[in-house]
Symmetry: C2
Subunit: 205 residues, 2 copies
DNA sequence: CGTGCTACATAACGAACGTTAGATAGGTAT
DNA sequence: ATACCTATCTAACGTTCGTTATGTAGCACG
């Protein structure tokens, strides 16, 4: 029994390995551009064997996006709960968002680009949770605006601007690039805070 | 002869109609998720007939991205040439970029999302011109920073942040949405200028 | 020692894919 | 009238697709 548990953890179990390979493959070629045979080949398996772990190709995509949204919702919740006040909370949320899109770059990319490959039922589930995630940011902006520390003309628009800007990190970030995730996060936090912070006297332009 | 010209212009010629339909289809289902038969059906043609106008499915995708990059490079060139000084030029460039991604939303979206579906040779051509486009923005930031009117920690990073933020407009903009392209552009210009403009006395946070 | 479960493999299914070959209807030019 | 050109069609090609049915090696457990 204990031996079984250890063995299971020594190398990631098959379902986990499949998801990891699928993330890389879907990222590179897209969902429809990837075949079950190609995915299997990357894992040194036969395509039919994948069906022992997942009921369908669609289920693999959904599992990826579902887990990614788990990570986003859980992460942003922890990040904002750890500090107080709108500026600190927005900083924390932006910082988390950027770091997530650098560290879990490929799955994060898929969560934006492969929504169209989901079945209608799966899309509904994913979109509901993505909306929930976006509401966190809108909430932070609203609270800050009401408190007078933020100056945002339109909360929804500003939230989309912030999120798409940070989400974009997943499209161009490189492990071997010039900038570490932490540096990128710091700069993004700075830019975003500058653009939403209320200026007591006159606008800077 | 004159009659022929008139007839040609009365309704868009076939190649044009094919590109328009392909833009909508690729946007909705992705390149690999769209078939030549589905594209033909949208045009009330048979799939084989498409090959009279384009040599391959790949050629259709390339034509779309190529024309989109024409529009971007030409447009940003005109926009920045029309005004003087780094802040006005950055405003003009950002404004153009946002408006383009709202007005030509679907093709702009494809230019970011379907690069991976291009053959290596076509990808090289497209990327070279996309780099050229990005250099325009980096140039504007550099000049402004050297002139002391902008304060940007890292030109490349700031340029990517600005571009991905504005490019994101193509992912969520809706014709029937609450905000007109002009309003979005105005707000984006404001946010971006705020985040890069040098503050003479102390930082706002 | 055998029974059953886990995790794969082999082989095959029908459907859909991008693409090509060849025919044809309708207009234009000679 | 004839020859040609443009733009489409029908039919079919070989390939690949997601998926299913079935077989089997290795291990756990009684």
């Amino acid at each position: 029994m204990a031996a079984t548990v250890v063995a299971t953890h020594e190398r990631a179990d098959a379902a986990e390995r499949i998801l990891r390979a699928a993330i890389a493959l879907f990222r590179e070629r897209g969902y429809h551009g990837s075949s079950m045979r190609t995915l299997a080949r990357a894992l040194r398996m036969e395509a039919a064997s994948l069906y022992y772990h997942f009921a369908s190709k669609q289920d693999i995509l959904f599992a990826i996006l579902d887990r990614t949204l788990d990570g986003l919702l859980d992460g942003v919740g922890r990040a904002v709960a750890a500090v107080d006040g709108p500026p600190a909370r927005l900083r924390a949320a932006v910082r988390f968002h950027v770091l997530f899109h650098a560290h879990r770059q490929h799955e994060a990319f898929l969560s934006g680009s492969e929504l169209r490959s989901l079945t209608q039922a799966n899309l509904r589930l994913v979109l509901a949770r993505r909306d929930e995630y976006e509401r966190v940011f809108r909430g932070l902006l609203s609270v800050g605006a009401r408190a007078g520390v933020f100056q945002v003309g339109d909360v929804r628009l500003t939230a989309m601007a912030i999120l798409t800007m940070c989400t974009g990190v997943a499209t161009w970030f490189s492990d071997r690039g010039r900038l570490a995730p932490e540096s990128i996060a710091d700069r993004y936090v700075e830019m975003i805070l500058r653009s939403v912070t209320r200026h007591p006297k006159g606008s800077p332009s």
